[in-house]
Subunit: 230 residues, 2 copies
Amino acid sequence: MVTTDFSPIADTTRRAEIVALLRRAILTGQLQPGQKLNELRISEQMRVSRAPLREAMRELVQEGILTSIPYAGTFVIDVTAKDIDDAYSLNQVLDEFAIERTWPQRDQRFFDELDRRHEAVKQATRNLDTTRQIETALQLHGLIYEWADNSVLLETWQRLTSRLQMYFALHQHARNEPVPAEDVHEIYVQLMKGADMRAAQRHAREHINLDFEQLLSYARSLEQRPSKGA
Amino acid sequence: MVTTDFSPIADTTRRAEIVALLRRAILTGQLQPGQKLNELRISEQMRVSRAPLREAMRELVQEGILTSIPYAGTFVIDVTAKDIDDAYSLNQVLDEFAIERTWPQRDQRFFDELDRRHEAVKQATRNLDTTRQIETALQLHGLIYEWADNSVLLETWQRLTSRLQMYFALHQHARNEPVPAEDVHEIYVQLMKGADMRAAQRHAREHINLDFEQLLSYARSLEQRPSKGA
DNA sequence: TCTTGTTAGATTGTCGACAATCTGATTGTC
DNA sequence: GACAATCAGATTGTCGACAATCTAACAAGA
């Protein structure tokens, strides 16, 4: 019997493509926080009717990166310092849990994937592609969530990730300075390969801590002059 | 200056009402796991066109209680034993975190609300209204999430809650036996009013444990004969 | 009998048009 | 000038119809 592994067919609805397009635009900062999404304009630009566009927007509202006010419009969520702080503190807890669950499941495939994603981050760093750098760094970090074998945890992480990515993108755009070339993930990768789980958990917490501290100070500085929207 | 507290105006779109109707139908078990939702039939029953219905369904898909396959249909999610197990283990972690965050924020208003919700559970129990009993019990438990002052945590909990409610409803429907009349929440409420945070955390973990153990054994017994759908 | 091709019916995905609602500018009144 | 009423334009919400796709039954051929 032939048992080739086929991956599922890609979604081929306009809706799915619109979701992907919009999500990318938001997460990369093309669409800025607070900005209003004009349905007619976007649907014309995408050469699509409003129906699938609106359905796509509903999805992103539930995904937490858009917010909708009936008869007023749909907007990119605003990023407050508190949001970042909330996401951060929850992330600490989830990280600890994810590492704990992943730990006994680690095998060669895990280590290989870890290296692969680490390599992707380094590549993006070399290319000075900050957007891609953020993306790959989050993917590296997300590996423990994919291996924790807990669908609800993974979902939660993915929702968190969206926001984190927005925050980071905003951060980068405003500062417009490349991330340090030194490889901050080296230690993390080594620890995840090692034998001391507690050490890995501790490092994850502290490492993330650093990134967040930067973000927080920046976000607080923004708090004074809120974004005007479109 | 007059500073009356006004609550926000209710959403007055058909979409919002449809979401509420569908959610309720799913969480109470009226719509069973695996069942397909026929758009035309439902839209005719609700006297509504398919557009707002479809948008509502997209929201519930992202909310995690519906699942959609392009050109095939939208279905109520299937409840597996693993789902329950995943939700349970994550819930343990989140509970601990929520209690920790809520603890310093407790005040008279918190205690009053705690009592109010506890009373609601007891009332539902007296009326032998199992559906309402599940609802109120989850609301009692959710108080710590509302007071933890962390929007992301609250969202996560609400998503978890939907599934838990589905699981419980399924459980009740199948067994068709009223929940024990004894008040299992008494100790929890007392501990949340007390001074020993660790004790409260420990109890939450163990108490939930009990409820889940029942659910798990039931769910595993279902694993053999999967629901046929509509 | 098994497999493959065809087709009709049902269902989902998408479209363009209309209705309901909001925004702001304008007008009229004091 | 300040304020309320009115109105036009723009935008969102909803509808009914059509297009694309799937499913299952049936027929044809090996």
